[in-house]
């Protein structure tokens, strides 16, 4: 078992009264597993993902429960310890590929960054070689040219591939993809899903795939969590969830999928 989330909750204290946005969420994730989290907007998917990646704001927020990554709690871990995991063992890609990359830094530098931080013994040439290899792995044409480019010179789909390369370059155990295909058009979406599946097979990286889109979740996940209003309403293997949903909420979500897409 790679990740174990136990009775996790978040309460915001940045307004007049405390707001519970996640409560009592428990699940586990095995090495190499693709776990989908589905739920409508505002159900607490991103907050859960950010907590696992150690990216929740540090102020005005109460965290409950435990998030054990290889047995160690990322919620209570010291920051410098957490930083050794971030980018090396746990990586994350986000919804907006247009803004998730630094506009004034070359793609190559950004892809290599995790290596520069975590694999300090590597020299420049070895780092570049690894970065180029990953730009190739994410199926970008002309990786040498992409390496020298800036984000604005690439399309949204290309940038999301770059984000995946930058996340994978350190050889992580867990890749968190929060709505990573939502901002892309349908054909590019399908390509990215295929790419994530390929990477999952080849690198044995576990993927936490978050989306509000059930058909994508069904396509990619081994297991699925359904979230609603900060609670986990149902979890199970993908076929069980889609073929025999137990909860009313899950049934409602499934019946709302447009038939043509299935």
């Amino acid at each position: 078992m790679l990740l174990s989330v136990e009775d996790f909750g978040i309460e915001f204290h940045d307004h007049d009264k405390p707001e519970r946005v996640v409560e009592g969420v428990s699940f586990t994730l095995d090495k190499g597993e693709i776990l989908g989290i589905v739920g409508e907007s505002g159900s607490g998917k991103s907050m859960t993902a950010l907590a696992i990646a150690g990216l929740l704001p540090r102020k005005k927020l109460k965290k409950e429960g435990r998030i054990l990554f290889e047995g160690e709690d990322v919620l209570t871990m010291e920051r410098h310890k957490l930083r050794t995991l971030q980018g090396d063992e746990i990586c994350m890609i986000f919804q907006e590929p247009m803004t998730a990359l630094n506009p004034t830094m070359k793609i190559g530098t950004q892809v290599e960054e995790a290596l520069r931080i975590h694999h300090t013994q590597m020299n420049d040439a070895a780092r570049k070689e690894r970065a180029i290899k990953w730009l190739e792995n994410v199926e970008l044409d002309d990786p040498e040219r992409v390496y020298e480019s800036y984000p604005h010179q690439l399309s949204g789909g290309m940038r999301q591939r770059v984000m995946i390369a930058a996340a994978m370059v350190g050889g992580p155990q867990l890749l968190i993809a929060d709505e990573a295909t939502t901002a892309l058009d349908v054909t590019v979406q399908a390509q990215i899903i295929k790419l994530l599946q390929k990477i999952n097979k080849e690198s044995a990286v576990a993927i936490l795939f978050i989306s509000h889109d059930l058909s994508l979740i069904r396509q990619i996940s081994h297991n699925v969590l359904v979230m609603q209003n900060g609670h986990l309403v149902e979890k199970g293997a993908v076929d069980d969830i889609f073929d025999h949903p137990k909860q009313e909420y899950t049934k409602k979500l499934i019946s709302a999928i447009p038939k043509v897409e299935l």
């Binding site: 971030q86 980018g87 630094n102």
Partner: protein, 303 residues
């Protein structure tokens, strides 16, 4: 650009027509006889109509002949060439201080945004920004010169004699120039850093395991400096123009000083040349700012 310079030169020339005073009188002193003054005016060409004199001067200027100083009887170009390094060095020193101090301080303040430290520095900053350089200069030269006796006011050392001593003398005036600019830079930079720090790419940088300081230095700073480029470009132009005042306070014989004396002496060839030089610097700084934008922000480069 040329048109701007032409307009500036014409306005300066016209201003001399309007303000009272006469170069010949100022050279000969007020008890010179009418006849000698008239003779000198003819010799200097001051008897010719305004437009003729302007065109004469302009044609010389275009040919690279900046004319001869009326009061010193020296070629204007060599006078300016001698003074220029002083003001330029002072400006460079002030700029280095402004940028060199404001960047690390703004990063530090931004890192502790919202804390007591942030509030205290905000208050100090608002206050410092409002203090004019010349006042700072007077206070500093009084404090360091009269009280601590670390520095001899008026003890300017020529850069030709002792460059180290020259730089040493310029440090206090440079600080006086830099402090208000620095305060303004910090204010602008702090808010630019905080704006940038809320952007998505910063979260990406954190997700790779960078520390806050690394995120600020490696990712945020360059983006946050983009809006500062214009301010810093204007600051350079402003420092050169502002040398008129600060050179007076610290008794530095630079461009600002020569401009003041020349205005007093109605020495229009010198005044023209210095003002055109300042206008030229402003225009050049605009160009430099444009180029810097392209260097820092790849989105503005044409591929």
């Amino acid at each position: 650009m040329l048109l701007t310079l032409l307009a500036v030169s014409f306005i300066v020339f016209a201003a001399f027509e309007i303000i009272p005073g006469d170069a010949a009188v100022s050279r000969l002193g007020s008890n010179a006889t009418k006849e000698t003054v008239e003779a000198l005016r003819v010799q200097m060409g001051l008897d010719k109509p305004f437009i003729v004199r302007y065109l004469n001067w302009l044609s010389g200027f275009v040919k690279g002949d900046f004319g001869t100083s009326i009061s010193y009887n020296l070629p204007v170009s060599s006078m300016i060439l001698e003074k220029l390094p002083i003001t330029v060095t002072l400006t460079i020193l002030s700029m280095i201080m402004t940028i060199g101090i404001s960047i690390p301080l703004s990063l530090l303040i931004a890192k502790y945004a919202g804390s007591k430290f942030d509030r205290i520095s905000y208050g100090t900053n608002q206050f410092v920004m409002a203090v004019p350089s010349f006042f700072l200069g007077i206070m500093m030269s009084w404090f360091f010169g009269m009280v601590l006796k670390l520095f001899r006011p008026g003890g300017y050392i020529s850069y030709k004699k002792d460059f180290g001593g020259f730089l040493g003398y310029l440090i206090l005036p440079a600080i006086a120039i830099a402090i208000p600019k620095c305060a303004m830079s910090i204010k602008l930079l702090r808010s630019a850093i905080l704006t940038e720090a809320g952007k998505d790419y910063v979260r990406t940088a954190y997700s790779r395991g960078l520390s806050t300081m690394e995120v600020l230095y490696r990712h945020v700073l360059k983006n946050a400096m983009i809006p500062l480029i214009t301010f810093w470009g204007m600051a350079v132009a402003d420092m050169i123009a502002g040398s008129i005042v600060i050179e007076q306070v610290f008794n530095i014989p630079g461009l600002g000083r020569i401009l003041l004396t020349s205005i007093a002496n109605r020495d229009y060839p010198v005044v023209e040349a210095v003002i055109i030089l300042i206008a030229f610097v402003v225009l050049i700084m605009n160009l430099v700012v444009d180029i810097l934008y392209r260097v820092v922000d790849p989105r503005l480069r044409k591929d």
